[in-house]
């Protein structure tokens, strides 16, 4: 029988941990044992997460070794590259910690530029998404277009030169309707998370353990 099929164990752990954290949040000052239990549970979580990284390493290795063995078309060469770089980084890190010059070189001159490139690619995605969003098809999208243009001109130096009121209107859009909407969503999120927390503590929400029927 699989571990999670015996649901009592994970459900019991969820229940105990949830109650410990809840009691600590409100009564931690009055109940020192609750505080130390919560700290202990948090430390365990960090340790379990660190071990889980090893599961991730095994998962990645198995998938890409499989691609290599099968010579998956359009994939195996990337799998080879991924495994080579990943294990080189691990080996360099283990040999001389992250201060190892080889590790530092790979991190600074390979990883960071690629990372920055991915972040920069967001500019293009924002442009294409904005193009679709800002087409004036109906009243709502027209309002979105108008407020988008005003807030853009608020941020661009040329906006104030065109019309001095752009920064004032843009600021109002950001501070009044934008904040009001965001707060409404935040309030609903809090209600939703309380409800989800209760369902989890009452053992009603079990979907995260798989579907039983």
């Amino acid at each position: 029988m699989s571990f999670l099929k015996n649901r009592q164990i994970p459900i019991g752990i969820t229940l105990v941990v949830g109650l410990v954290m809840l009691v600590n949040y409100y009564f931690g000052a009055a109940l020192p044992p609750a505080k130390s239990a919560a700290t202990l549970v948090q430390n365990w979580a960090v340790i379990v997460a660190a071990f889980a990284l090893l599961i991730g390493l095994i998962n990645i290795s198995r998938i890409h070794i499989n691609h290599l063995l099968k010579r998956t078309k359009g994939q195996w060469i990337f799998s080879l590259w991924l495994l080579a770089i990943m294990y080189t980084m691990i080996a360099l890190g283990l040999i001389g910690t992250t201060k190892n010059p080889g590790y530092q070189w790979l991190y600074n001159y390979v990883f960071l530029p690629i990372d920055a490139t991915m972040y920069a690619s967001l500019a293009f995605f924002i442009s294409s998404a904005a193009y679709r969003a800002f087409r004036a098809r109906n009243l709502e999208s027209s309002l979105l277009l108008a407020s988008g243009v005003v807030t853009m001109l608020m941020n661009a130096p040329i906006g104030e030169i065109i019309w001095a009121a752009f920064p004032v209107i843009g600021d109002w859009i950001m501070v009044v309707p934008n904040v009001a909407t965001m707060r409404a969503i935040m309030i609903c999120i809090v209600m939703g998370s309380v409800s989800l927390g209760l369902r989890t503590l009452l053992v009603m929400e079990r979907g995260y353990l798989g579907r039983e029927e």
């Binding site: 571990f3 409100y26 009564f27 889980a52 998404a129 999120i189 927390g197 009603m204 979907g207 579907r211």
Partner: protein
């Protein structure tokens, strides 16, 4: 020092919990609560059906939050959707690709796959190579997911959980390949990106309600009705705060600060 911290929060929590528990009790007595329809949840079956017809895989990812931070409820809610999607995909016999950022969810996802394949009477459906840990670094994860979307061209993509800047990379990549996309997040900064680039978006609390909604269990659905009572309470507090502030009183603000 106060022995009970966040007193106003505790009172609010107790009131909300009372409302949810009351609705649950009503449902147990057979009284059905009205829950509004959420299009983003109802369309999940349609998206999987579309993938089945097109003979293309389904993709799902649960975002960045681990299981012990403030964003963990989003991951829990996302996993709940995942288990439902896995069940449906196993029944239809189409591959489900799960891309992962949080390694501690790998065993949970694996078990969901195994259970889904068993329940569907389709053990061959379980393929551990479809459960893919990408990275625990944000942009490496984004690159990996983007690669999966571009290479394997799923017909449906579900983005359920806590996301940051990579949200738009996923949503736009899915849009480019023509995947039907359903996203859900409580990360308010990413909601606009999902609304723009995805076909359906679960806004904030709708993601948390998804697990209960998908179960179609009357008692769980009642808890959603209970949270609506909390929304009414919030509206009353907002209105009272507005009136008192205009009248020059900070009484309510000071009470809520306790």
């Amino acid at each position: 020092m106060a022995l009970i911290a966040h007193q106003s929060g505790l009172v609010t929590l107790l009131i909300l919990s009372g409302a949810v528990l009351y609705m649950i009790q009503r449902a147990r007595q057979g009284l059905k609560s009205e829950v509004r329809r959420v299009a983003g949840i109802e369309v999940i079956d349609e998206a999987i059906g579309r993938s089945t017809e097109m003979g293309r895989p389904v993709h799902i990812t649960n975002g960045l939050s681990n299981l012990y931070s403030s964003g963990s409820p989003q991951t829990i809610a996302g996993l709940s959707v995942l288990s439902y999607v896995a069940k449906k995909c196993a029944q239809n016999g189409i591959p489900l690709i799960t891309t992962i950022y949080v390694p501690e969810t790998i065993p949970m996802v694996m078990e969901m796959y195994r259970e889904a394949s068993m329940l569907a009477g389709n053990p061959e459906w379980f393929n551990e190579y479809n459960i893919r840990y990408m990275s625990s670094h944000r942009y490496s994860y984004a690159t990996g997911v983007q690669g999966v979307l571009q290479r394997e061209k799923p017909a449906a993509s579900f983005l359920m959980g806590s996301f940051m800047a990579e949200a738009l990379i996923f949503a736009e990549s899915g849009n480019i390949i023509g995947a039907m996309q359903v996203a859900g997040t409580a990360a308010t900064a990413q909601v606009p990106f999902f609304v723009v680039a995805c076909d359906y978006t679960l806004l904030g609390d709708e993601l948390y309600a998804a697990g209960a909604y998908l179960s179609q269990d009357a008692v769980q659905m009642a808890s959603i009705a209970g949270q609506d009572v909390g929304k009414y309470l919030a509206m009353i507090l907002l209105l009272a705060g507005l009136i008192l502030s205009v009248a020059g009183s900070n009484w309510l603000v000071n009470i809520l600060k306790l």
